[in-house]
């Protein structure tokens, strides 16, 4: 789902609270009116959403659990899509209720629930979104350079303080049975960091009724194969390719992030001049521009060994970490042949002595 051409139509907020000491839930406080944002405020809001959901973002397309139960988030979204303003205000409360129910753990903080609808994509699709934003504190200065301390700011730049779920509708009329016709995209920085405790799942699973897509293994393999192809095709010295491939192996095998993302790999390992070409190359292979779940089960054996191959069946193999730590590969100019042309040779330095021969 591409989020270009995003327009936001109606917005409302409610507040949800942390559970009490005895784990009893606290009722949310409901907003009673649609928000009336200025043009600047709306631009800011759209920018927050795009930074989280746009291409090169950390959001992930997720599968919607089927069959849907009547009280599920998708059901609420579907009603909101066709609701008039009065019904929008009332129905949006159910998101706040559902989130309160889903936040069973006592250490999950409260926050502001933003419910909105609008359109996105080209061609445009209806979208219904819900944001949980934790509040944070900040200072504000006045014209006279006095200072105010504010405790209820939200949607600030700290990305781990908010999570977003957007349901988009493919526009078929009459509407088919749920969840057909709908797609879900979720932004939750907990998904992309290394902790995988239950706290990460409350938002996308219990609250939104989504699940990690099943195509993780396939997509991870596609990421591995296509990125390798890209690196090998680059017009750079072989040493640089070796380094980039080391980066790829590190990213897949050693990095503990549970997702695979073009932007993350590109940011960490690719020089500026290659970033756009890489992005465009992968998009042409139909690889998603945001995050996919990491699943290396299909490429486990390939990841086990790095391999350099030469003519006449000469090979050097090593596990990726040993390759990175102990092997240095350099291109050198070889002895000129009869035609006076110097061929390209490779010097391999292994930081160890020969342990065993056969």
């Amino acid at each position: 789902m591409f989020f270009e051409n995003l327009t936001v139509n109606r917005v409302i907020i409610h507040e949800v609270y942390q559970r009490l000491d005895d784990r009893r839930p606290v009722d949310p406080t409901y907003g009673t009116q649609l928000l009336n944002l200025t043009a600047d405020a709306m631009d800011f809001f759209r920018e927050r959403i795009i930074n989280a959901m746009g291409s090169q973002s950390q959001s992930m397309e997720m599968d919607i659990l089927a069959p849907t139960d009547p009280a599920c988030a998708l059901e609420i979204a579907s009603e909101l899509r066709s609701a008039d303003d009065r019904n929008f205000i009332d129905t949006s409360r159910r998101f706040a209720d559902r989130l309160t129910a889903a936040q069973t753990s006592r250490n999950l903080p409260g926050g502001i629930v933003v419910v909105f609808d609008g359109r996105a994509g080209n061609p445009g699709r209806s979208i219904v979104g819900v944001i949980k934003a934790e509040t944070h504190q900040g200072f504000r200065h006045t014209d006279q350079l006095q200072v105010e301390y504010l405790r209820d700011l939200f949607l600030g730049p700290q990305t781990k303080l908010y999570k977003i779920g957007i349901f988009s509708y493919s526009g078929r009329d009459p509407a088919p049975e749920l969840p057909n016709g709908w797609q879900a995209t979720v932004y939750d920085t907990h998904m992309t960091r290394s902790n995988r405790d239950g706290a990460a799942q409350y938002f996308y699973e219990s609250f939104l009724g989504c699940t990690l897509p099943a195509n993780g293994a396939r997509l991870t393999k596609m990421f591995f194969d296509s990125t390798k192809e890209f690196i090998n095709k680059l017009d750079v010295a072989p040493e640089q390719k070796t380094e980039l491939l080391t980066g790829l192996y590190t990213y897949l095998k050693i990095d503990r992030s549970p997702t695979v993302e073009l932007a993350a790999f590109s940011e960490q390992y690719l020089a500026q001049e290659f970033k756009d070409d890489y992005q465009n190359f992968m998009v042409r292979q139909d690889f998603p521009t945001n995050a996919v779940p990491k699943d290396i089960s299909d490429i486990e054996s390939s990841l086990r060994q790095r391999r350099l191959r030469f003519n006449r069946n000469i090979q050097l193999t090593a596990p990726p970490d040993a390759f990175q730590d102990l092997i240095v590969v350099e291109t050198i100019e070889g002895e000129a042949g009869e035609d006076g042309v110097a061929p390209e040779w490779t010097r391999i330095t292994i930081r160890d002595r020969v342990q065993d021969q056969s």
Binding site: F2, F3, L6, D43, A52, N122, S266, Q272
Partner: protein
């Protein structure tokens, strides 16, 4: 005619001549504006053109004392005179075209410095182009009627030539001055220098234009696309130059096709730019179209090369649905 009768007739005719002179100025200026669009004649002409009626004394002197005319009143063609002053010699042609293309009058060239220089190549003297334009048919201007045949003299010169003529007019060509050979030679030396200076001026303009040419060409092309697709009038500012400088290496021969193809694929962009253009000058620069297209194709590189602040580039990323801070 006696001198008194002469002056009487002149007094009666003066309003008509004045109107005729103003009419000539207005007409030539309008044609010039069209020819040099989008530049404006106000800036192109170095001295505001105005019409000048011949003074009584000088008129009488010319009619009765200085030369012999068969019909002095009508033969003297500079009863009203108009002067157009331009910067470079090669601009004079533009004024000439404006003069000769107008249908309201018959134009005849009275003096042509280039021809005079060809005939007397080693002489350095007054240089200008003079036309006499005569009203073609009785013409209504305001509530006056200009009689058919009414003449007006038009002088076209460069600002340097004008300086020379002002100097000599006030000095060696004043009636009571008996110009000595030394004075004349000194004046000639200055005119020779003026000619050389004009040539250097023209060279400078040409050399600058070679450097600036490709960028200006790009802006002109983008202006065309902008006007075609957006319903908003573009407004060139210094920002345009900054953006073009940053991205002109990305814009090749087919930049117009690429942009049009981009707009065809993403029609909502046209509307977005039009809306933003109403609020922000940045979006009224024609090169903003190029920026949108490049952000779509190469977001990372375009972000690197953006010459203004990130804050100004963010809305473009939002419109295209791309996260700004990643990748």
């Amino acid at each position: 005619m006696t001198e008194a009768e002469f002056l009487e007739k002149w007094a009666l005719d003066r309003p008509m001549y004045e109107a005729w002179g103003e009419h000539v100025v207005a007409n030539v200026t309008e044609r010039l504006n069209v020819a040099i669009n989008p530049l404006s004649a106000d800036i192109f002409l170095r001295i505001p053109p105005s019409s000048r009626l011949k003074g009584d004394a000088s008129f009488l002197e010319k009619a009765f004392y200085r030369k012999s005319y068969a019909d002095p009143y009508n033969d003297i063609t500079d009863k009203v005179g108009v002067r157009f002053v331009v910067l470079l010699g090669n601009h004079i042609k533009l004024i000439e075209d404006a003069i000769t293309s107008c249908q309201d009058w018959n134009a005849s060239k009275d003096r042509d410095y280039e021809q005079e220089q060809n005939e007397n190549p080693i002489q350095f003297d007054y240089a200008a182009v003079h036309y006499v334009v005569r009203c073609r048919a009785n013409t209504e201007v305001g509530d006056l009627t200009i009689r058919e045949g009414t003449p007006c003299e038009i002088q076209v010169k460069t600002i340097l030539q004008h300086a020379y003529s002002e100097l000599t007019h006030d000095t060696i060509y004043k009636p009571k001055v008996d110009a000595t050979p030394r004075m004349l030679r000194t004046a000639a030396k200055s005119m020779a220098l003026i000619e050389a200076t004009n040539d250097y001026f023209e060279q400078v303009v040409e050399q600058v234009s070679e450097v600036v040419g490709p960028s200006k060409g790009l802006t002109d092309e983008l202006l065309g696309v902008f006007r075609k697709h957006l319903g908003v009038e573009p407004e060139l500012a210094r920002t345009e130059g900054l953006i073009v400088e940053a991205y002109e290496s990305e814009a090749q021969q087919d930049v117009t096709e690429r942009i049009e193809s981009f707009l065809a694929r993403k029609p909502f962009i046209t509307q977005q730019i039009a809306e933003r253009a109403r609020q922000k000058l940045l979006f009224r620069q024609p090169s903003i179209l190029l920026v949108y297209m490049l952000v779509d194709e190469q977001p990372s590189a375009t972000r690197e090369k953006w010459p203004l602040t990130p804050k100004e580039l963010r809305p473009i990323f939002v419109d295209l649905g791309k996260a700004f801070d990643r990748g």
